[in-house]
């Protein structure tokens, strides 16, 4: 209970800071400013962070490797590729349709990564993230080529570097779907934990392995698409939040999934606050702040952890 009291105190402090920080100052229309901009922005950062952290832990359980997260499986790049193609072929498509295409593309991208990963020897935990970086790089390069050739670099840039300055009421509400997906993941938390025991063990326990894995990956794809289309891509959130929580609290997701979600939300909100404060009144994208911090934590993980498996 003390844990949750502290967590909520910290969360409340971050929310108050986020609500009171920005280029515009509170005047007579403070309520309007809060409603239209500050509250949506704060909620967006929390929801996106929670979603990315949950997506991270699901991917880690599926591939049984702590050093992997959706952005190291080619999912965001594949999603961008899908969005670019939609923009070219059917520019007038409704947002829901674009989301669907983005999610399907992310799922395809991850399927490609998993097919590659299945052929890798599992002894070296570093191989999976390295192959993920290369794979994501290749898909990303295809995106850049298409965007360059079709004069869509501006779109691509907005997706690649996630930030929250454009979040306003009416422009971020899709992210609330993440709250529903988080609820769904909590319902199947035991199943996701069992996935992490490996296929043979999971199936021996009577888990429908293929179905559970598919459910997990679909959720990851939808979260990736929701975040990407609404606020852009953020590296490392899915890596950092689950790893810090696992270090501290263990791997039982029935207990820790809420903490992972809240931790991811706080991480991204903190990054956004730092990005707003550091060169006030100008802003640095939250993705940039997260990348600096996340890279540091990633290096620490590499140094301290042998990954998920060792002989």
């Amino acid at each position: 209970m003390r844990l949750w009291t502290l967590t909520f105190a910290l969360l409340a402090a971050l929310i108050v800071t986020s609500l009171s920080l920005g280029a515009a100052s509170f005047g007579d229309d403070a309520g309007w400013l809060l409603m239209v901009s500050r509250i949506p922005r704060t909620a967006a950062a929390l929801l996106a962070g929670a979603g990315l952290a949950l997506a991270g832990v699901v991917v880690q359980q599926v591939v049984q490797n702590r050093l992997v997260e959706p952005s190291l499986t080619g999912a965001p790049e594949a999603s961008m590729l899908g969005l670019l193609l939609v923009t070219l072929i059917a520019p007038g498509m409704a947002v829901a349709g674009k989301m669907l295409i983005a999610a399907a593309a992310a799922l395809l991208g991850m399927a490609g990564y998993l097919a590659l990963a299945a052929r890798l020897p599992r002894e070296d935990p570093m191989l999976l993230p390295i192959v993920g970086i290369v794979y994501g790089g290749i898909v990303g390069a295809i995106c850049v080529y298409i965007a360059w050739a079709t004069d869509l670099m501006q779109f691509l840039g907005a997706w690649q570097l996630g930030e929250f300055s454009g979040v306003m009421i009416g422009r971020y509400e899709w992210l609330w779907a993440i709250a529903a997906l988080a609820g769904l993941l909590y319902v199947v938390a035991d199943r996701i934990t069992i996935l992490g025991l490996g296929e043979a063990q999971a199936r021996s326990l009577g888990l429908d392995y293929a179905q559970t894995r598919a459910l997990g990956l679909v959720v990851v794809s939808v979260i990736t698409a929701l975040v990407l289309v609404t606020v852009g891509a953020f590296p490392f959130v899915g890596l950092v939040a689950p790893n810090l929580i696992a270090r501290w609290r263990g791997d039982n997701l029935r207990v820790n999934l809420p903490l992972i979600a809240v931790g991811g939300g706080m991480l991204l909100l903190t990054a956004d606050i730092i990005g707003r404060a550091i060169r006030y009144p100008f802003e640095i994208p939250a993705a940039t702040v997260v990348a600096v911090f996340g890279a540091g934590v990633f290096l620490w993980l590499l140094h301290a952890a042998p990954g998920r498996r060792h002989g």
């Binding site: 049984q64 035991d190 199943r191 934990t193 069992i194 992490g196 025991l197 490996g198 043979a200 063990q201 199936r203 021996s204 326990l205 009577g206 888990l207 429908d208 696992a246 270090r247 263990g250 791997d251 039982n252 029935r254 952890a305 042998p306 990954g307 998920r308 498996r309 060792h310 002989g311």
Partner: protein, 251 residues
Amino acid sequence: MIEISSLSYHAGPTPILHDISTRIECGGITALIGPNGAGKSTLLHCISGLEKPSSGSVRINGIDPFSVPHRQRAKTVALLQQSPALVSRLRVRELVSFGRWPHHQGRPCRADEEAVDRALVAFALTELSDRTIDTLSGGQRQRAFIAMTYAQDTPWMLLDEPLNALDPRHARDLMARLHGLSRDGARSIVIVLHDINAAAGWADHIVAMKDGRIMAQDASASVLTEETLRDVFDTPFELLQHKGRPVVVAR
């Protein structure tokens, strides 16, 4: 009883198991021995319903593990795969509790908690129950995984090389525990062993495999002959008797 009839298994074009037909009676410990690549693990996976045979059938206590619901299968047979040495940060008690998952599917009741307690006691893990798996020694980790398999409370426990990476003391300790647990007839254990003397010392029955076929199967004393072992392992052995127990020495 496990009944296997005309079972063949191919991994792609490579044949692994050839037309195996046999029965394994309930009760006690049945050891699967044989050289590397004999198909022991594959046979275990086929029996447990995890690898579908290319042809032939498996019946375990009368049920076909491939046609019954996953949950029913998981209440009949539990498999511990070879070296599940993942660096999990689950606590020992949490891991063992997952053995109850086929019974409660996420809503454990009192009986499940008691079964977990019994498994922790049976494998001397009570003191370690709050430790995370990645902080345990190899022997403790292996015990924790076997305790999970035990907590699954199935009439059949299939263990794939559980003595891997265990020192002699922990290997002996584990075999003694399994032997004790299989005496009442309610549990039947099929275990893949590389240490022939562990099989000689603790198994009631031995199935000797080579090149995807069963070479010999009988009560332990009958299978452990110099001729059979030489044929199975392609290397000469000497069979000694020590305090009434057979001891196998590679020549």
